[in-house]
């Protein structure tokens, strides 16, 4: 059992390391911005003096690794000094630190700095949107995972039948559809003239849960359709692969029913690839969510990110990109660990 813990610890360490590099990459994005950040920040009112002042105020005159540490929150964020020799910086402006008592206020503490376009703290902008996006992704996953497992098992059970062919062809087709095409078709059918569901998912903090489920149904259904195909195909392939093995033949010869052969004997061994593909697709939901949120005007992170990219509002883009990347890395990590745990040969050995 101990070696499995070591394996998991190794995977965790690798995940943390990946996240660390990703954070460097995302932080480094600011460095690559063409033109001077301070000049862009000031716009029309940029004079050499104000530019120098803002550079000091934002700590841009400090070396990059120190700014990275402050941004991440592993170095106290108060190191920049203005012309009068008074310490300033994000933490002090935010009232978290004072000139004599430094504080850690970076990404790790949930502080992403201020938005460039409206000067509000990014954390405040993220607030409810993060919850909304999570809600949408979980909603879609709750429909998509059971559905695709069921379809995959059925397709494997009735393989090469008409049912299998139809399910397969429609899966291949829906993989090739852009998300917004699926979304607009659903709007056309279910929201257009009949008006079964709203075409705009305007969710407010006050909206109650049942109402939320109803409003977010079309976005969730779109995401479901986009990810189900892939998961279902992989489930089918994993099970069919196993059906050729001798122990399945044995189970069949004993006179077991086909459904029992698949559910009791094939499925447990097919679990590792299935878990992997589920996690991959949940990670794919993260990107799918961006387009779908824009189509349905859903107040989530994706919508925020697209608006911020258009406005080139770097701190917001950094924050959202970091959240999405972290979720992606964590999901992949979870998949790896679960796939290992689902294999008794790995768990029991040693």
């Amino acid at each position: 059992m101990s070696h499995i813990l070591i394996m998991i610890a190794k995977r965790l360490a690798f995940g943390v390391l990946t996240l660390f590099f990703v954070s460097i990459l995302i932080f480094g994005a600011t460095e690559l911005l063409p033109g001077d950040f301070a000049e862009e920040f000031l716009g029309q009112s940029a004079t050499p003096e104000t530019v120098a002042a803002i550079r000091r105020q934002l700590g841009l005159n400090l070396p990059m690794h120190i700014r990275y540490g402050e941004w991440l929150g592993i170095l106290p964020g108060w190191t920049s000094m203005n012309a009068e020799g008074v310490l300033t910086g994000r933490c002090i402006e935010a009232g978290i630190a004072t000139a004599d008592a430094p504080a850690y206020c970076g990404v790790l503490q949930g502080d992403f700095g201020n938005s460039l376009s409206n000067r509000r703290p990014v954390a405040e902008l993220l607030g409810t949107r993060l919850g909304n996006t999570l809600f949408l992704a979980l909603y879609a996953a709750a429909i998509a995972v059971p559905l695709s497992l069921m379809l995959g098992i059925l397709a494997a059970l009735f393989r090469n039948s008409v049912f299998d062919r139809v399910v397969n062809a429609s899966a291949l087709t829906s993989i090739s559809f852009p998300e917004f095409f699926v979304a607009y078709i659903l709007i056309f059918w279910l929201a257009g003239m009949g008006g079964l569901f709203p075409s705009m998912a305007t969710i407010r903090p006050a909206t109650d849960f049942a109402e939320k489920l109803y409003l977010a149904f079309l976005p969730a259904l779109t995401l479901t359709l986009v990810v189900t195909a892939h998961m279902m195909r992989m489930t089918r392939a994993a099970i069919i692969n196993l059906l050729a093995s001798p122990y399945i033949e044995m189970a069949r010869l004993k006179g077991m029913s086909p459904i029992r052969v698949i559910v009791r004997h094939a499925l447990p061994n097919a679990l590792a690839p299935i878990i992997n593909v589920i996690a991959l697709n949940l990670a794919y939901l993260i990107t799918g969510v961006v387009v779908v949120e824009v189509v349905f005007v859903y107040p989530g992170l994706g919508q925020l990110m697209v608006d911020s990219v258009a406005a080139r509002d770097m701190p917001v883009v950094q924050a959202v990109a970091l959240i999405f990347a972290a979720a992606y890395v964590l999901l992949n990590l979870t998949a790896d660990v679960l796939a290992t745990l689902s294999n008794p040969r790995l768990v029991k050995r040693g």
Partner: protein, 307 residues
Amino acid sequence: MGVLITFFWFLVVVAGCLAAGWLFRGIAMRLAPAGAKRELGTAPLTASFGMLMILVYILVAVFAPLIAPFPERAVVGTEYMPWDSVHLLGTDNLGRDMLSRLIFGARNTVGIAFATTVLAFLIGSVFGMLAATVSGWLDQGMSRLVDVLMAIPALIFALLLLTIFGTSILTLILVIAVIDSTRVYRLARSVALNIVVMDYIEAAKLRGEGLWRLITREILPNALAPLVAEFGLRFCFVFLAISALSFLGLGLQPPMADWGSMVKENATLIAFGDITPLLPAGAIALLTVSVNFVVDWQLHRASGLKE
């Protein structure tokens, strides 16, 4: 009843597509040289239909100015005109002819996606084979870098890079190509790794062949088949990614005709039960489906899978 009628038309369309594929396969087998004839004979109807569609898209893209009834960017009517005999598919939100823009969109959207995929393959396969050939720290360094780059979801990474470099066609091509080249790198490296250990490579090294010649003349010809098979799949990904970005308003910029942004610009019509905005989205979907059908057939053939 309405559902039944819809289903009936759906079946008619599917049957029509398959019939078109069958006809195309028949004609192509007549015209094709003897060697290609047998291969074409193995193509399922879906793949034949896919090939026919790809051919149609290429023809439309090449001859766009000849086919389109109106210029790409000219305002030729009032906004949102319905379908009639002059403007077959009506006009868009600025009064430009929808059909003409659809036709020019084939040139812009597909052309740019194709260029991007080619670029991604050039970057990815050169570096991938280089890593496999040189190995050692260069391989380690590049592979770990690719690992990190692939740990960020592609669309999110593209959005981040577009924030930095701004939105223009050139940056769009470069950004998507670089992101996608990481996937190609992985494949090229793993394919090349199996080739590098072969005896004839050893012999070529002893003969004193340089690195560049080794990669292009010795390794590349043997690594070409899996890379070509991957090309179709990657093209679909790139095409969908560019369409998604254009749809989000961050890809091809107006007034250029582009399918992704055409959907976005005219989306309001959908709520009124007008399917015109769905046409460019459908054009994207049809091409991806067609490419996928052909790739599926090729993969099936290459792997000798008979299930």
